[in-house]
Subunit: 565 residues, 2 copies
């Protein structure tokens, strides 16, 4: 409950306790918590008060003492309560805090343990195939358990809430605290490929509108509050980037990378209904989800140690289904290792295996689809090659407050798709119906501001910083891999889940990764590596535990475990 950000400020005393749970006072009666609490300490007798906002505030706040202390149930001191009440009505959490008579409250004691009072659910977390051998409780995937972690309950307003403004104030306090936690979490984020460095202040004037580009970007609906003019501008830019003429492409702005993959593979299936889906085992999970959703046969292809598709295995898998067309997902940057499949080799393999004219390639460029074009000597994703579609995420390298993506395909394929839609009067070529009209504005704004050159500079910075990180890790004796063309640095998984969560690292098996995005500076990387080195000294101090061997994940050459260093 204590907020580490402001060790001596008042705000730590304004503790919003989890809203679902049970509180027990020392008369052993239990109360269900349904609304936030305010914890205050009385300087005179050192007792604690828990002020509960009652549904009907006119019955005043009720207070409980903590079972672990000797303080008994007290009368509430009149003045702070009144002042509090008054300020809640004023509707501003800041004013309230300022006015709360700072002298009358102090820091909570170090041994203050809200979990002793609040019987809250233990937060569950993904374990996956992660190791749970840190000091923390072993985390596991809980399939089928519906656990409410720190959920912020929706409660019914009182009749006179509009008059008193109490509810507004309460929500403002929740939001202010939430904002603070977002600031903190944004600061320590390393593991996901999201560029958190953006400024869309100029667009805040548009947040009040319900902007919806429902349906096709190129066909206006009668609903007038849309942003198609921006969306098509963005699509044009991407079509140009991937070398497809304006009158030969179709595309739209999606909700995320998954929607792009779902769309690309669906188009492939409609072009070749009997086609078999091929994807490397390191493809994004949405590719396999698509196969299942669409009831397509799917062949998983092996990968090289780099994470790239193994075209020898691809050739072998193709030879098993020579009679059926091939639909291939090509990764322009895999999720875990940032590996880029060799598009030219994939095409060559297909043609040599006799699939000319009978294949459809979808390029999943979630992250690197937008970085690769700016890397010298990188193989090119281009519609001048026989590919069918490309997707890229908008919230990753570009940076965007909400997930989004760009999908570009050949217009001829969409025509094929649309002709089949007999039950629809209009062209229904998007996966979703109503579509977020704000995302195109964010993308349009950034593309216009940064342009090709701006992106190029950022890509170079990211690659430079990724090399720096790899260098620092290996000089510290930590096995690490960085694929050419990539800003994803893969290394041994930290032993401690707390550390992993703090830095928000994505992990798989024995490895973790940092995706170096434009908002990740050398300073931040230094902080991270320094802390990791310190922690490792503790984890592996007594020699009982050893750093994991990561040779099978990133190759012997990159592993620095006892055996391979």
């Amino acid at each position: 409950m204590k907020n580490e950000q402001t060790p001596h400020g008042l705000s730590e005393h304004f503790s919003q306790i989890k809203s679902v749970g049970t509180i027990t006072n020392n008369l052993n009666t239990k109360r269900t918590i349904t609304s936030p609490f305010l914890i205050l300490k009385n300087q005179h007798d050192q007792s604690f008060f828990v002020y509960k906002y009652q549904k009907n505030h006119r019955s005043n706040y009720s207070s409980f003492s903590f079972p672990r202390t000797t303080f008994t149930k007290k009368h509430q001191p009149t003045s702070p309560k009144r002042r509090l009440h008054k300020k809640i009505m004023a509707g501003s959490i800041d004013v309230m805090l300022r006015e709360l008579n700072l002298e009358s409250v102090e820091s909570l004691p170090d041994d203050f343990d809200p979990t002793a009072v609040i019987k809250d659910h233990v937060p569950p977390v993904i374990n996956g195939d992660k190791l749970g051998n840190g000091k923390e409780q072993v985390r596991e995937i809980v399939l089928g358990r519906n656990v409410h972690t720190s959920c912020l309950e929706v409660t019914e307003p009182d009749d006179d809430d509009e008059v008193t403004g109490e509810r507004e104030a309460q929500m403002a306090s929740v939001l202010a605290r939430y904002r603070k936690s977002l600031l903190e979490r944004t600061k320590h984020h390393l593991g996901y490929p999201y560029n958190l460095d953006f400024d869309y202040g100029a667009l805040s004037q548009l947040q009040h509108f319900s902007i919806n580009n429902l349906g096709d970007p190129f066909i206006e609906s009668n609903y007038g509050v849309h942003s198609r003019q921006f969306e098509v501008g963005v699509l044009d830019w991407f079509a140009r980037l991937w070398e497809l003429e304006k009158n030969e492409y179709w595309g739209y702005i999606t909700n995320c990378g998954t929607e792009g993959n779902l769309h690309g593979i669906l188009v492939g299936r409609e072009v070749f209904p009997e086609g078999i889906l091929y994807a490397s085992s390191e493809s994004h999970y949405s590719v396999f989800k698509a196969a299942r959703m669409y009831r397509m046969d799917c062949e998983k292809v092996n990968t090289l140690i780099s994470g790239e598709i193994d075209c020898e295995d691809f050739r072998a898998k193709l030879s098993l289904h020579k009679d059926k067309p091939a639909i291939i997902n090509v990764n322009i940057g895999t999720t875990v290792k940032g590996a880029v499949d060799d598009l030219d080799l994939v095409i060559k393999t297909l043609e040599e295996s006799g699939f000319t004219g009978r294949f459809y390639i979808h390029c999943d460029g979630a992250l690197f689809g937008l970085m690769m074009p700016f890397v010298k000597l990188a193989p090119k994703v281009s519609f001048k090659k026989p590919i069918g579609s490309v997707s890229v995420s908008g919230h990753k390298f570009v940076g965007c407050p909400m997930p989004c993506g760009v999908q570009i395909t050949r217009l001829e394929h969409i025509n094929a798709l649309s002709r089949n839609v007999e039950y629809l009067a209009s062209r229904d070529a998007t996966i979703m119906g109503s579509r977020n009209g704000h995302a195109p504005l964010f993308l349009w704004y950034t593309l216009n501001r940064k342009g090709y050159r701006g992106f190029q500079k950022e890509v170079q910075k990211c690659l430079r910083n990724a090399h720096y990180l790899r260098g620092r890790l290996t000089s510290a004796g930590i096995g690490a891999m960085l694929n050419e063309l990539s800003s994803t640095v893969v290394f041994e998984r930290p032993q401690d889940e707390e550390f992993t969560r703090k830095w928000q690292l994505a992990c798989q098996g024995n490895i973790a990764h940092v995706v170096v995005m434009p908002n990740i500076t050398i300073d931040k990387l230094d902080d991270f590596v320094n802390e990791l080195i310190e922690k490792r000294a503790v984890w592996y101090k007594d020699g009982k535990r050893k750093p994991p061997c990561v040779a099978s994940d990133i190759g012997q050459a990159n592993c620095l475990c006892e055996l391979h260093k």
Copy 2:
């Protein structure tokens, strides 16, 4: 180009002309327009100037005269240009407008016709099975034509844009104009079920964060910038609304109604892989899209004149496939007529046909799923009945700047779904991967502020206003229908496409509809009906054209055409 909002203000002179097209001056040379223009009138000689922002601003603006006027190409007056230039550098559109020497510009003439200069593509619009018999050019669905309407091109910034601020200013001007058009369009919106009346000012502080609830709402990912605590609060509220216990439901906040239907039907298919999908012909198109995506057999069931599913036909269709389980889409408010399928009768029909234990019902409550619970005597959507899932849109009745929806299903079904996902370590039960973390905040905020009672009041207002609209239409001799439990008023389609577009009516065949949302007031409805009456007097003045007969759409009793009145 003229903005009716400010008939005498300067801003109407600051016209941003469509950025893709060709402009011809009276020397008959053509120029492609690639960036916004500023149109000014010179008070001294009454000539017009089109100021084009050159890519390299140091070469200054170029101007063209209009071919339809007699004005020849002019030198630009030095002072306004310099002032303009300077102000663009200052970066504020407002300052620029103020400084633009108001005396030197006037209203554009009434016959000013920018389309005569800008050879822009004619905006294509959905025709569907609409009648194109207005005065305007017949609109048609253009399958396969990739048309760029009024697209705002993304251009490369100049090297020194950061220094001059010119680009920022230009984008600010585009956005300011866009904002104005959104205001205007928001004001005249009647046809789509979007509540445009919301105030999320308190949430604007959170727009700067890349909030992403990737994956499952109940399983934390390592990415820390999420809003799961709000999302689960919202889901709890809906589970309570539809009477499913906390530990028995699973759900998530979707991107739109379509995602809800895609999810519900996918869950149905996973529960009954051999199941046949049944849906009334007036179901949302996403239901049929799902059938095709998922390769499911689908039976379209007839509807009654109200738009409800015809359970006699349903029974007949069921009898054709007695050997296979049934997956049924039940509409809680159809898209066009707002008809509510009789859930109890659907269940009864299934049970009488021998499908007990072999059916899965998905309730598509896109709009009315959230209104019905607040209507007295309305049949109840409840998980106490044998239904499998319910979806509702968040941007419709609730109101939200971006499309979103809520999906609630039984936890047991998700367990069945998840067990099959062998290739994933974690539970992958959502359609999308990365998920918008802002939408839960908007919903949480509104639910908390309004509560059940707030929604109840708004629903009552909507129903009252819908009755008022129906009354006004029929007293004016315009055939109209309003289903019980619905706020969707269906009536004869206006003859004129311009009128339809102005009021943003959704049309199908001979009918149009207004969906009365909380932001639609009696005043607005009066404006609309009065204008419709006026227009009809013109359209049908000479007796050559007659109002369409809508008996086959809304029933003889509701039709007021010559034959049926």
